[in-house]
């Protein structure tokens, strides 16, 4: 049996703290939770983070893959998780010294105590690079993908445009953009008119020429004559082709979509709350999901699609360009369709056990883990018997939107969408990276604690995860 050692780069002091005085193995969760609890003051909760897109960048995390030292002094909400993270994954059994972790260079290898490289400069240059790329006549997708995989800055509507390019909504030739957009947007409008009308309006349109329209206040008293109905269309019709019948059959799906949209990101004002803004956003989400369900009778609507839709809509609606923001619904619809085309197999129940289904994908993740870290794999699968389905299902089907806060998941999506082979490959690598990063805790834990850890993945520095995931590619 070939004993695959943990790869050297993983063993470097970067990822682990210097061994503290050997303490009898305490159950790992408590000290860690103590660490975690001390950190929330540093972690800015989502709502302010969401205001970020309007804030001027630079987000320094984009430069972090190249810097091994966490920038302790950086207060950008995005990277505050940095600070939190260094303690979380490094110190398995370190006691919490109570001080803000980012100023604790005692965390061994992350010699963050050294002066942090100027994040602003690096980041501004990245933004400039991307803008330059975007302003070309014909966009070089390979180059763009490379840039995007390192994370996109938040400002200037860059992310919205880049995602549209990556998902193939916008053609690479800039010249064609206006016409393409106009075409697609009018197509969406047409879809909505055709498919989202309620049966009353449909029947009304069917008989535009209908004559016997009595007016209540006008005309002389008399018996109202009955007229024929067209095509046997009446509300109680049980016919398969009846507009009414179809309408009632779809009510179940409509209600399901309603419920899920209400539950999407309740902590973010954009999506929930009583403001008209939130309500109109919810309406848009509902329209898109209903339309998708109608156009795809094979897959209809499955819970979770709303989570995949939310980041797209959020990005496009917050585009500083007015025209784009106004047509965000149409743009999101097509991009959503594109995104789903890669992942629809995960949502089809019948395919669960097939080669393309979710089970197969999960077992691929398992294999990937075995390849890179056999010890961890053995511990998880054999010793503690943590079936990957328990945690990976949500990771994979929802593209990690539920594991990290909203801002972080946008970063991850940058990398996922930029992969020329399709997001699935990168997704598996990122999941593998997530497992590897917390390997110390996993190895020390039993079934319960491991499951708890993986189902509530600790807040981590996103760029670090992406860095590790990238390294896995090389191996």
């Amino acid at each position: 049996m070939v004993n695959k050692r943990v790869p050297d780069w993983l063993n470097s002091s970067l990822w682990s703290s210097p061994q503290p005085p050997p303490s009898p193995p305490p159950p790992s969760p408590p000290p860690l939770s103590a660490v975690a609890i001390s950190d929330p003051p540093l972690l800015i909760p989502p709502p302010p983070a969401i205001a970020r897109p309007s804030e001027p960048p630079p987000s320094s995390t984009s430069s972090s893959p190249y810097a091994h030292a966490p920038k302790g002094e950086n207060r950008d909400p995005l990277t505050s998780s940095y600070a939190n993270n260094t303690s979380v994954y490094c110190t398995d059994d370190d006691e919490d010294d109570g001080s803000p972790s980012y100023s604790a260079p005692s965390n061994g290898g992350d010699s963050g105590a050294a002066a942090p490289p100027p994040p602003a400069a690096q980041d501004v240059s990245r933004q400039a690079q991307i803008l330059q790329e975007l302003s070309r006549k014909v966009i070089n997708m390979v180059e763009l993908r490379k840039l995007a995989s390192q994370g996109l800055p938040d400002g200037a509507g860059i992310r919205a445009t880049v995602w549209k390019l990556l998902l193939g909504y916008l053609p690479t030739d800039r010249f064609l953009w206006p016409s393409e957009l106009a075409k697609k947007r009018s197509q969406y409008k047409q879809f909505k008119e055709e498919l989202l009308m309620n049966p009353s309006e449909i029947t009304r349109r069917m008989e535009k020429s209908s004559l016997e329209n009595h007016e209540l206040e006008a005309g002389s008293p008399g018996f109202m004559s009955r007229s024929e109905i067209s095509h046997g269309e009446h509300p109680l019709s049980l016919g398969k082709s009846s507009v009414w019948n179809q309408f009632f059959q779809e009510t179940e799906i409509k209600e399901q979509i309603d419920r899920d949209v209400m539950r999407t990101h309740p902590d973010i004002h954009f999506f929930s709350g009583d403001s008209t803004f939130a309500k109109s956003n919810q309406e848009a989400l509902k329209n898109i999901l209903n339309l998708f369900a109608k156009l795809n009778p094979g897959i209809r609507y499955v819970q979770g699609m709303n989570e995949l839709l939310a980041p797209l809509f959020y990005m496009f609606k917050n585009d500083p360009d007015e025209e784009n923001a106004a047509s965000a619904e149409a743009d999101t619809f097509f991009c959503f369709v594109e995104l789903m085309s890669g992942f629809r197999d995960n949502f089809v129940q019948q395919l669960d056990n097939s080669v393309v289904g979710i089970r197969a994908t999960i077992s691929r993740l398992s294999h990937l883990l075995k390849e890179h870290d056999e010890e961890l794999w053995r511990h998880l699968e054999m010793t503690t018997k943590v079936n990957p389905q328990f945690y990976a299902f949500r990771w994979i089907t929802l593209l990690l939107t539920q594991e990290f806060n909203f801002a972080d998941s946008l970063f991850i999506w940058d990398t996922l969408l930029s992969d020329p082979d399709g997001p699935q490959e990168t997704l598996l690598r990122v999941c593998c990276a997530m497992l590897v990063i917390v390997r110390k805790r996993l190895l020390a834990g039993d079934f319960t604690s491991n499951l708890k850890l993986l189902q509530n993945y600790p807040s981590t520095n996103i760029s670090h995860i992406l860095y590790v995931a990238n390294k896995l590619r090389a191996h």
């Binding site: 016997e212 329209n213 209540l216 006008a218 008293p221 009955r226 009446h234 509300p235 109680l236």
Partner: protein, 186 residues
Amino acid sequence: MVLVLALGDLHIPHRAPDLPAKFKSMLVPGKIQHVICTGNVSIKEVHDYLKTVCSDLHITRGEYDVDSRYPETKTLTIGQFKLGICHGHQVIPWGDLDSLAMLQRQLDVDILVTGHTHQFTAYKHEAGVVINPGSATGAFSSITYDVNPSFVLMDIDGLRVVVYVYELIDGEVKVDKIDFKKTTTS
């Protein structure tokens, strides 16, 4: 798009055993938002059945109703329309359109739904519209034995109402409609 079912004069079990099977198969719960019943259902079981079709049931008292707590008349507002319900045996002469128009003006409603004659009628006059859904079971009336089971489904959509008339003629369900609208909001 509000669907309102109007029916009445069922007379179950005295004059008819049950609704026609074809009607029953169409009255599936979940589609209809309101039920208006003119009266003479007669027994509680029928009342309960109507409640399963839709929980928002409005019913007035007919002379053969066992439950004496139903009101004589009732008014409700659905969308832009005011509807009034009365069984009709109180309005003399029975089925007389002018007298019903008087009742409609008293109740101040756009659409008055009455029964008792067991004949479908839809009549328009200055004060509004009178609709008689007939007898849903085809029970005989004091006036005639020859009754076709019928009921009415109204689709109230903004200022427009489409009245679908369901009639069982020779064992087949025939559906017609009547279209009317209001020009001013109430």
